[in-house]
């Protein structure tokens, strides 16, 4: 069946997954739904200790079994040691047919590939995968369909019961012996536990793993003792220097600085840039530079940000410290400055569901004026692809891209016209991960294109005469005139993964890469 972004979703895939094809952004708005809760074991006995000696004991006590689903969070980013530690134990116990439901998987998790090959891991649900696991999935090594869903989408899938987690493993920088968990302090300080909070609410069993046991009560707890079954103390849960791997050096790349300037020009010349505006941006060089340009103009015009949200960086925290932003809402910290900034009383932690779950009573992303995003590819329908490389290999993650793009009044994608020889502005993206109806403005180094669905933005930018305006087709044509029109990448018929839209419908499928 052809879905609302023109992608063929094979009937067989709809049948296996029980999901519907994507029908447009507001398909499930105001549609009644029931939340599903976990099956838990109450702790009434006041003699019971939650401490276990090691991961193996935790797995046994949590009734680990073939075919179960285990979950993880990615706040330790490239420094994460938890996933490999737990999966090695599961592998050594000889368990098979395990599904991993992670908030994201990255380069640190390459040791999982042999476990995919030997049938220990047969399912992966994640916001995306980078590195060797992405290649393994694209090569068809994973037995079941990989499911890629956004941060908000993952919360939705756990609350509706589409995904059910048997055991959640939550790496906690600090914990007490009764499972009060905090994201801050300890040896592997990641600041927040926002993505893991939903696991505490929806997994049957919940195991905290920490390398810093503190006296009871570890308060204020980010995940409460009432959600945690067992606490396991290990030597190390993360490599601190790799946790803040998003730490960006100020860019000197003229192309990025130009795009940053265009992006800021778009923001300050559209109607939502006024006292109390809200803003989310990313961690790339152009995003950070554009935040700095924006700060200058905010000072000049005495305009303050009402709130900033998202994965946070030094540049955003600077706005808070300087009194240019009233409040920051934090789901993830990309650098150590952001972790340290949590001391500021106006820098608040929020759970992933509050941030972006499309099927609650209104997430924070709905209140966004601007979001500045990146993309591997954008096509002439404004569809974005942030998961599958132009060579057909799975290589990225949705993160909050589809959530914030839909929520924001003005969603801006910064994307160089070409990445090496690859035209980033193209006729059709390899895989649709964020629908074009969510994307309002595309900023490239060769000009700025506004989605024709947003004549209001186009008028504002024309009136301001601030950026070189092009149509998206013109941008694509410039790219193709320089690099040549690319051949279509060839795939096998077999579908290896699905891309879920925020609401759980299927927006696209990923097929197995053809060997050459």
């Amino acid at each position: 069946m052809i879905n609302a972004v023109g992608r063929e979703i094979p009937d067989e895939i709809l049948e296996i997954t029980g999901k519907e094809p994507f029908q447009g952004n507001y398909y499930r708005d105001d549609v009644p739904m029931t939340k599903i809760g976990p099956t838990i074991r109450p702790v009434m006995n006041n003699q019971k200790s939650k401490l276990v000696a090691n991961i193996r004991e935790a797995l046994i006590k949590c009734e680990a079994h073939d075919g179960m689903t285990v979950s993880f969070h990615h706040h330790f980013r490239d420094g994460d040691l938890i996933v490999n530690m737990v999966m090695k134990e599961i592998h050594d116990m000889g368990l098979k047919d395990i599904t991993i439901c992670a908030t994201s998987l990255g380069k640190a998790h390459a040791p999982l590939v042999p476990m995919i090959e030997d049938g220990t891991i047969t399912g992966i649900e994640s916001s995306g995968v980078r590195g060797a696991i992405g290649e393994a999935i694209s090569q068809g090594k994973l037995k079941k369909l990989a499911i890629m869903r956004s941060h908000g989408g993952r919360v939705r899938a756990l609350t509706t019961g589409e995904s059910h987690v048997d055991i959640a493993f939550i790496g906690a920088p600090t914990s007490d012996d009764y499972g009060n968990l905090r994201g801050i302090g300890g040896k592997a300080d990641c600041g927040v536990l926002s993505y893991a909070i939903v696991d505490g609410n929806h997994a049957d069993y919940c195991v905290a793993i920490t390398d810093c046991l503190v006296p009871y009560p570890n308060f204020p707890a980010h995940i409460a003792q009432t959600k945690v079954d067992y606490v396991c103390v290990v030597d190390e849960i993360g490599i601190p220097s790799k946790i803040a791997s998003g730490a960006a050096k100020p860019t000197t790349d003229q192309r990025k600085l130009l795009m940053a300037q265009y992006c800021t020009d778009v923001v300050v010349n559209t109607p939502w840039f006024k006292e109390g505006f809200s803003y989310q941006t990313g961690v790339g060089g152009a995003s950070i530079a554009s935040t700095q340009y924006l700060a200058e103009i905010m000072r000049e015009r005495n305009i303050h940000m009402g709130f900033g949200v998202g994965g946070l960086t030094k540049a955003m925290c600077q706005l808070l410290d300087d009194g240019m932003a009233r409040v920051l809402l934090d789901v993830q910290d990309f650098d150590l400055d952001a972790v340290k900034n949590l001391k500021n009383v106006n820098h608040h932690r929020i759970p992933a569901g509050v941030y972006a779950n499309p099927l609650n009573k209104g997430a924070v992303v709905n209140k966004l004026d601007y979001v500045v995003l990146a993309s591997l590819e954008v096509d002439v329908h404004f569809n974005c692809n942030v998961v599958v490389g132009s060579d057909g290999m799975i290589t990225g993650a949705q993160g909050g891209h589809p959530d914030t793009a839909q929520g924001a009044k003005c969603a801006i994608v910064i994307c160089p016209l070409m990445q090496g020889r690859i035209p980033a502005i193209c006729t059709d993206v390899t895989t649709v991960t964020t629908p074009g109806e969510s994307i309002d403005v595309v900023v490239t180094d060769y000009g700025v294109a506004v989605n024709p669905a947003r004549p209001d933005i186009l008028e504002a930018l024309k009136a301001a005469d601030c950026v070189p305006l092009k149509t998206i087709e013109e941008l694509r044509d410039i790219a193709y005139s320089i690099v040549g029109k690319p051949e279509k990448v060839e795939f096998e018929d077999r579908v290896v993964g699905i891309i879920e839209a925020r609401d759980g419908t299927i927006i696209d499928v990923v097929r197995q890469i053809k060997e050459i």
């Binding site: 132009s390 090496g420 690319p486 051949e487 990448v489 050459i516």
Partner: protein, 99 residues
């Protein structure tokens, strides 16, 4: 143009390609590694063979490691490697087949 010895042109930097040309006796034996082979493999092959044809190279082993070079770069690197490998030894006769 006759390929008399092996010669190299280009680098492994992004958006460049490294071309190695060696004497051969079996027509053009072209071997390509490319970061963009799935999208531009055919085009790179076409540009390389055209360039060799224009230079009058009939027999050679050509190995290319491409890092996303544009057609103009590929042409220039192939021309340069062939000139270095031929009797011209890099003393280029501009305005002839080198355009």
């Amino acid at each position: 143009m006759k390929i008399l010895k092996s010669a190299v042109a280009g680098t492994l930097e992004s958006s460049d390609c490294m071309v190695t040309v060696e004497p051969g006796s079996n027509g053009i034996e072209f071997d390509l590694e490319s970061a963009v082979i799935r999208q531009y493999g055919k085009q790179i092959r076409k540009v390389t063979l055209e360039t060799l044809g224009r230079l009058g190279v009939r027999n050679a082993k050509v190995h290319m490691v491409d890092k996303g070079a544009l057609d103009c770069t590929i042409k220039a690197r192939v021309e340069c490697a062939c000139m270095r490998a031929s009797e011209h030894e890099g003393r280029i006769n501009w305005g002839g087949v080198i355009r």
